[in-house]
C-alpha cells in the first residue's frame, strides 16, 4: 500500500485571465512562489513533473520550453504528462513512494487564448467516428445537460443556481480576471461575464448558447498556470507549519464515446473516490472540475458529498478555466483552505477528456495523526 504521509507544502497560481504572456512566462512566477512558500531553492527538489498540452500552444514539444521555469540546470529528474497538472501531481506522488527522494515539484499550464478551443477540443474526439461530426465541447455539454434533464435528475433552475453561486464565490477569488470566451470560435449570445452578482431569474431569462445551457452554465477558456510542492513525512513537517496531507489519490477512465456510458452520472469519479479512501463522511470543502453547471451536480452525486460541504468556494471552473491547469488549481484551492485552518478535510477533483471521461479524486486532510505518525 502506498504511504499516506506525503503532503502539499507549497503552491502558487497565476491570475486566471487572457494574457499575452507565454506559457513559460506564466509558469516562471508560480514556480518561484511555490518553492518560496515551501522554503526550497531551485535544484533542491527530488523530482519535477509537469502537465501541458501541445495543441494549446499550436506546436509540438511545448513542455520543452516550460523547463526554463524550473531552471533545469544542472540537469534534473523530470517527467511530463500530456494531461492536466493534477495528473502530474499524481505522478509525483507515485514517484515519492519510491522512498529515495522526499520532495517534488509539480506544474500545470494552459494557454487557450492563442488557439480556438472549439476547434482544438473537437480534435480530441475519436478520429473515425466523433471528430468528423465536428462536435465541439460546448455542444457535448449541451447534450449532457439535456440528458440530465430528461433523466429527471435536474432542471434548468438547478443549473442556474450552481452558476449564480459560482459567480458569487468567484467575486472573492483574487486570481480571477478577464476571460477569453466563454465561446471562443463559437460565440453565440451575450457573454455575461464570469464573476459578480447575477440573480437566478436573470440567468434563466438569458439566451441559450447550447440549449438547455446558457452562457453562465459554461466555463470560459482561460489562460493560467499553477505549481505545487510536495514533501514526505518529517520533511513536510519541517517545511510547513500545517502540511496538507494527501490521504489518498486515484484516477479512473471510462469509455470514450458518450453513447457508451451514462453521461448523467460519473462512475469513474465514484470509483476514484473510493480508491482514494473517501467512503462518505464529512468534507469541509470540495473543489470540483465541473466545466458546466450540470457537471457540478453530476460530480456532487458521484462523490456522495454531504449537503453541508462547501462546493467550489473559489468559484470553480465556471469562473476560471485555464484548461490543463484547472484540475491542479482545484487541488490548490482545496489545500489552501486546509493550510489556512478554515478546513480540516477536503476533496479535490480533476477531469480529462470530454464529458468527464477521466476523473481524479484527491482526499486532503490537515490534522496530524493521533500519535503524530501516519
Amino acid at each position: 500500500m502506498p504511504a499516506s504521509d506525503i503532503a502539499i507544502v507549497g503552491y502558487a497560481q497565476s491570475p486566471i485571465a487572457a494574457t499575452s504572456a507565454s506559457e513559460v512566462q506564466l509558469l516562471l512566477p508560480v514556480v518561484r512562489d511555490a518553492l518560496a512558500m515551501a522554503g526550497l531553492g531551485y535544484g533542491e527538489v527530488g523530482f519535477t513533473c509537469s502537465g501541458s498540452c501541445d495543441y494549446l500552444t499550436g506546436g509540438p514539444f511545448a513542455f520543452l520550453f516550460n523547463l526554463e521555469a524550473v531552471r533545469a540546470w544542472p540537469p534534473i529528474e523530470e517527467s511530463h504528462l500530456e494531461m492536466d497538472g493534477a495528473w502530474a501531481l499524481y505522478e509525483a506522488w507515485i514517484r515519492l513512494q519510491g522512498g529515495d527522494i522526499d520532495t517534488a515539484l509539480v506544474m500545470g499550464s494552459g494557454k487557450s487564448s492563442s488557439s480556438r478551443p472549439a476547434d482544438v477540443w473537437t480534435l480530441q474526439g475519436d478520429p473515425y467516428y466523433l471528430a468528423p461530426l465536428g462536435v465541439d465541447p460546448l455542444s457535448l455539454a449541451g447534450l449532457q445537460a439535456r440528458a440530465l434533464i430528461d433523466a429527471g435528475k435536474a432542471t434548468e433552475r438547478d443549473f442556474a443556481e450552481v452558476a449564480v453561486r459560482s459567480r458569487r464565490n468567484a467575486a472573492s477569488n483574487p486570481h480571477i480576471g478577464a476571460h477569453v470566451g466563454p465561446h471562443v470560435g463559437a460565440h453565440v449570445g451575450p457573454h455575461l461575464g464570469a464573476a459578480g452578482e447575477l440573480s437566478v431569474a436573470a440567468a434563466l431569462g438569458s439566451e441559450y448558447v447550447r440549449a438547455p445551457l446558457r452562457a453562465h452554465d459554461l466555463a470560459p477558456f482561460s489562460d493560467g498556470a499553477a505549481a505545487v510542492v510536495l514533501a514526505r513525512g518529517d520533511r513536510a513537517r519541517s517545511l510547513c507549519e500545517r502540511p496538507v496531507w494527501i490521504r489518498g489519490i486515484d484516477h479512473r477512465i471510462e469509455p470514450h464515446l458518450p453513447g457508451f456510458r451514462d453521461i448523467t452520472s460519473s462512475a469513474s469519479t465514484s470509483l476514484a473516490a473510493r480508491q482514494a479512501g473517501y467512503h462518505g463522511g464529512p468534507v469541509d470543502v470540495a473543489e470540483l472540475c465541473a466545466v458546466s453547471s450540470p457537471q457540478e451536480l453530476i460530480l456532487r452525486a458521484a462523490l456522495g458529498l454531504p449537503a453541508d460541504t462547501l462546493v467550489n468556494p473559489s468559484g470553480g471552473p465556471l469562473a476560471g478555466n485555464p484548461v490543463i491547469a484547472t484540475g491542479l488549481i482545484r487541488i490548490i484551492e482545496a489545500a489552501s483552505r486546509i493550510m489556512n485552518g478554515s478546513a480540516d478535510r477536503a476533496l479535490a477533483h480533476a477531469a480529462g477528456g470530454q464529458l468527464l471521461q477521466q476523473n481524479l479524486v484527491c482526499l486532503l486532510e490537515g490534522e496530524l495523526w493521533p500519535n503524530g505518525v501516519p
Binding site: V120, L123, Q354
Partner: protein, 381 residues
C-alpha cells in the same frame, strides 16, 4: 519501502512505413495483446495503463489516449499519458515502473506508439512550420563537432549504418530490410545534413511496443522468466544556453551515472552485456558509447571501427537494428526497453547475444536534452 519491479511480458508490432492494414486502436492493441499473450495474462489482469507517444501533431489528434482507452482495456482503470519527445517510450516504461515500485499496483501495462503515416512527422518536428530542417538538420552540427574533436574518420558513420541494417535482417519486427546494404552504398547515398547521409538516417515508421510490469509477488507467479528492472533514471536539461555541451549533454552523463549507481555498475563495458541505445543518426552511436562510459572520451568511434559493437562483437549495440531500422518515434524508446528485456531473457531469436545477464536501454528526446535510461538484469536486485 519500494517494491521491486520486473518485466513479465513484452510485445511489439511489425514496424513498417505505413501500417495501413490497421487503425490506430488496432496498432496499439496488436502490441498490447502480444505482451499479454507473452505474459499469459488477460486484459482484466492489468491494474493500470501508461501510454506514451511523441507530439500529438504527428497524427493530428489531441490526447489520442482518450479514444484509445477502449482498445487498451483501460476502462475503470487509471491511465496516464506521458510525452517527453523522443525519449517518451523509455519515459513511459519508467513511469510504469514507478507505479509498481509505489506499491499501488500489481500489474501495469506500459505501451508506446506512433503512427507516423497518419501525418507528416517532418512538419511536426519542425515546430509545425513548413520546410523546417527536420531533426537531422538540428543534430548535424553537433555530429560534425564530434568528428572534428575526435578526428574520427568519416566511414565510422557508414559502419554503424550497415551494422544496424544487417542486424535488422535478423529481427522479424524491424521496418527496414536492406539485405544488400554495403559501406559503399551508404557512402554513395545522398548527403542530407552533412555529415549525415540518407542511409545514415532513421526511417519514419508506424509501430507500437508494450511491456507488462509487476512486483516481486507477481514475478514469482509469472509464466515467463521475469527480467528485473535493476535501475531507471531520467534527466532533463535546458535545450539551449551559453556553455551547454550538446555533443556530450550533462543530462545524458548524469542519467547514465544515476542508473549505474542504482545497479551497482562501476565498469559498464565489463558489467553490461548488450545495449540498445537511441541512435536515429549513425554518428550518435560513438557519442553515446562515450557518454555511457562504455568507451573513454574520444574513443567511441574506435569501438565502432574495431567491430566491438557488432552482433558478434565484445559489446553489441542495437542487435535489434535499432532506431536506424525502425523509428515509430513515440515507441522507439519502449522498443529499446523491450529488446533489452528479450536479450536478458534469451528470447531475442536470431539477433540474440550469447549469455546476456545485464542489458542497458536508453532513449533521448528534444534537443538531446531529455534522457531516460533503464538497466535490466536476470538476477533479482
Amino acid at each position: 519501502m519500494a517494491e521491486r519491479c520486473a518485466v513479465i511480458g513484452v510485445g511489439q508490432t511489425r514496424h513498417k512505413r505505413a501500417r495501413d492494414d490497421v487503425s490506430i486502436p488496432g496498432l496499439v492493441r496488436e502490441a498490447a495483446a502480444r505482451a499479454l499473450e507473452d505474459a499469459e495474462l488477460t486484459w482484466t489482469d492489468i491494474d493500470a495503463v501508461v501510454v506514451g507517444k511523441a507530439p500529438d501533431a504527428f497524427e493530428g489528434i489531441v490526447q489520442p489516449e482518450y479514444f484509445l482507452a477502449d482498445a487498451l482495456g483501460a476502462n475503470g482503470k487509471p491511465l496516464l499519458r506521458v510525452h517527453t519527445a523522443g525519449s517518451v517510450g523509455a519515459s513511459t516504461f519508467i513511469a510504469g515502473s514507478h507505479l509498481i515500485r509505489s506499491g499501488a499496483f500489481s500489474r501495469v501495462l506500459a505501451i508506446a506508439w506512433e503512427k507516423q503515416s497518419e501525418g507528416n512527422a517532418q512538419w511536426g518536428l519542425s515546430g509545425a512550420r513548413s520546410r523546417g530542417t527536420g531533426a537531422g538538420g538540428y543534430f548535424a552540427p553537433w555530429l560534425k563537432t564530434y568528428i572534428a574533436e575526435t578526428g574520427a574518420p568519416e566511414h565510422i558513420g557508414w559502419l554503424v549504418a550497415v551494422k544496424d541494417r544487417l542486424n535488422a535482417l535478423k529481427n522479424p519486427y524491424a521496418h527496414l530490410r536492406l539485405a544488400d546494404i554495403t559501406v559503399e552504398k551508404v557512402a554513395a547515398s545522398p548527403m542530407l545534413w552533412e555529415p549525415v547521409r540518407f542511409l545514415e538516417s532513421c526511417p519514419s515508421s508506424d509501430g507500437a511496443a508494450a511491456a507488462i510490469l509487476t512486483n516481486e509477488a507477481g514475478a514469482r507467479r509469472a509464466a515467463q522468466r521475469p527480467v528485473w528492472v535493476a535501475a531507471t533514471s531520467t534527466r532533463s536539461e535546458l535545450g539551449s544556453f551559453p556553455g551547454r555541451d550538446p555533443v556530450r549533454p550533462q543530462a545524458a552523463i548524469d542519467c547514465a551515472r544515476d542508473a549505474y549507481r542504482q545497479a551497482g555498475i562501476t565498469e559498464p563495458r565489463r558489467e553490461i552485456d548488450v545495449a540498445e541505445l537511441y541512435v536515429p543518426f549513425s554518428w550518435l552511436e560513438p557519442i553515446w558509447l562515450e557518454v555511457h562510459g562504455i568507451a573513454a572520451q574520444g574513443d567511441g568511434w574506435r569501438l565502432v571501427a574495431d567491430g566491438v559493437t557488432e552482433l558478434t562483437g565484445a559489446f553489441p549495440v542495437n542487435p535489434s537494428g535499432g532506431v536506424l531500422s525502425s523509428n515509430p518515434i513515440g515507441a522507439s524508446g519502449m522498443i529499446r526497453c523491450v529488446e533489452a528485456v528479450l536479450q536478458v531473457r534469451g528470447g531475442a531469436g536470431e539477433h540474440q547475444v550469447d549469455g546476456v545477464r545485464t542489458a542497458l536501454a536508453q532513449a533521448y528526446g528534444g534537443s538531446a536534452q531529455y534522457f531516460a535510461t533503464a538497466v535490466f538484469r536476470a538476477a533479482m536486485p
